[in-house]
Amino acid sequence: MHNLTIAELIKGLQSKEFTSVELTQHFLDRIDSLNPAYNAVITVTAEQALKAAAAADQRLAAGDAPDLCGVPILHKDIFCTDGVRTSCGSKMLDNFIPPYNATVVENFEQAGAVVLGKTNMDEFAMGSSNETSFYGPVKNPWATDSVPGGSSGGSAAAVAARLAPGATATDTGGSIRQPAALCGVSGIKPTYGRVSRWGMIAFASSLDQGGPMARTAEDCALLLNCMASYDDKDSTCIDREVPDYTADLNSSVKGLRIGVPKEYFSEGLHAGTEQAVRAALAKLEEQGAELVEISLPNSALSVPAYYVIAPAEASANLSRFDGSRYGYRCEDPKDLQDMYCRSRAEGFGEEVQRRILIGTYCLSAGYYDAYYGKSQQVRQLIQQDFVSAFEKVDLIMGPTCPSPAFKFGSKGDDPVAMYLEDIYTIATNLAGLPGMSIPCGMVEDKPVGLQIIGNYFDEALILNAAHQYQQITEWHDLAPAGVAS
């Protein structure tokens, strides 16, 4: 059952080939036996899952159940789950049990999806390797000496290892697409404002966006149908009807204009990655798509702009963690200042502290205009690049990240080397555009991701192109050793 896609699982559940309880137990058993090798899941909610599965079976028996009824999924541990620890990968929230569900969690619950547990992640979603998690790194199922990517590395590794057919994730600078690429799964970051951020622990509020991960584009479409919604409780959510993302999956790509940004194929791109991505583009061209060389001249500025904006917003968002109302409090504080300073020094890991300090610096008196103000202007320039490009093309494609999964510790000493991992993904967050990564090859026995960027609210077109590519290729079907059997 773990080799079936969500689309196939839905058919199986609705035609009573198997029950949700059977399916849920099967995945719980897999998590039990396989997860210790990957550390992808940090909380298992077996009891609640089986209860939800039994309820789903009743709904399925009564007929007229929603698509995802009875389908097991995992939630990234950044989404608040009522009564279930939500740690955000941090010691700060190791003891935090939210009294409410995030809107995304609520949407899946309403649909009858079964939550198996919560996935590991970089602390407060700050990282590209999952090495910053308080719960230890996630291992890439394709090569356990290598990183799964981050920050949604737990979700990506869990889907790759078939511990769940799908998982939720979030993307602030590439945190859905980069781990999806490194673990050989499909993942989409929707347009900013498409998925509610309510109950999703904030990192950089003007960039954060939730999205699904699964093995295929079709499965991502099914999950996004449930995940996307307008939500009054998120003031940046866009009030716009959610289309059926599966409706256009089968449209032909004939005549589709695909922009290929020359800046995404420059220095620093691994030769094997480039080859795989170019081959994928050629495949789509064979199907009748037209490749158009484009330029996104301000691409190189996206990393520096991001590393001002994201830490600045993080330093404000994370000020709420002060040991007063929830989360970690240090032992025996001698006064209020001591409680704040030590709770934060002991509760936050090194990378989180670094970003808070950087953010505080960029926002402090005398530096605000030079850093934050300047970055917000540069952001406008980056958006303009995309606006001009989308006058000529329908989608933009290129690599998701510069190279395949790197080894643990190999970028540990220099934060800047790690930051460059997101060089191709960050610009879409700055512009608020939707982007996706799908598997498109193997280099050194590790997966390569093809990135597909669309215009605002063009998730359906992205998913359509991805699905069409997956109809004529088998990269998304490959499984790491020992996982498929």
Partner: protein, 95 residues
């Protein structure tokens, strides 16, 4: 661009993060390396470019001024480190 020790201490105070004396040099080096990266921005000509705060230029929505939330004090305080009579307890501030 490098950050002086004094500046790190000031940032740590502003951020309410206790910094270990022995790590200041390392923190300073790493912050300087990140600032070196973001300093690339200074060379960009942004004259006349508006700052972008939301990708779709959305503004905050307004709603009717009416009560929408129920009182859930007990549920919300259940995870607090210390409470008393419905209040969050912190170390004494005023002697």
């Amino acid at each position: 661009m490098s950050i002086e020790r004094q500046e790190i201490e000031k940032l740590a105070t502003l951020s309410r993060i206790a910094i270990n004396e022995s790590t200041i040099t390392e923190v300073s080096q790493r912050l300087s390396s990140v600032l070196g990266l973001v300093d690339q921005l200074q060379a960009v000509n942004t004259e006349g470019v508006d700052a972008m705060s939301h990708p779709m230029q959305a503004t905050q929505r307004l709603r009717e001024d009416e009560v929408t939330e129920l009182n859930q004090r007990e549920a919300l305080q259940a995870t607090a480190p210390e409470t008393e009579d419905g209040l969050f307890l912190v170390p004494k501030v005023i002697e």
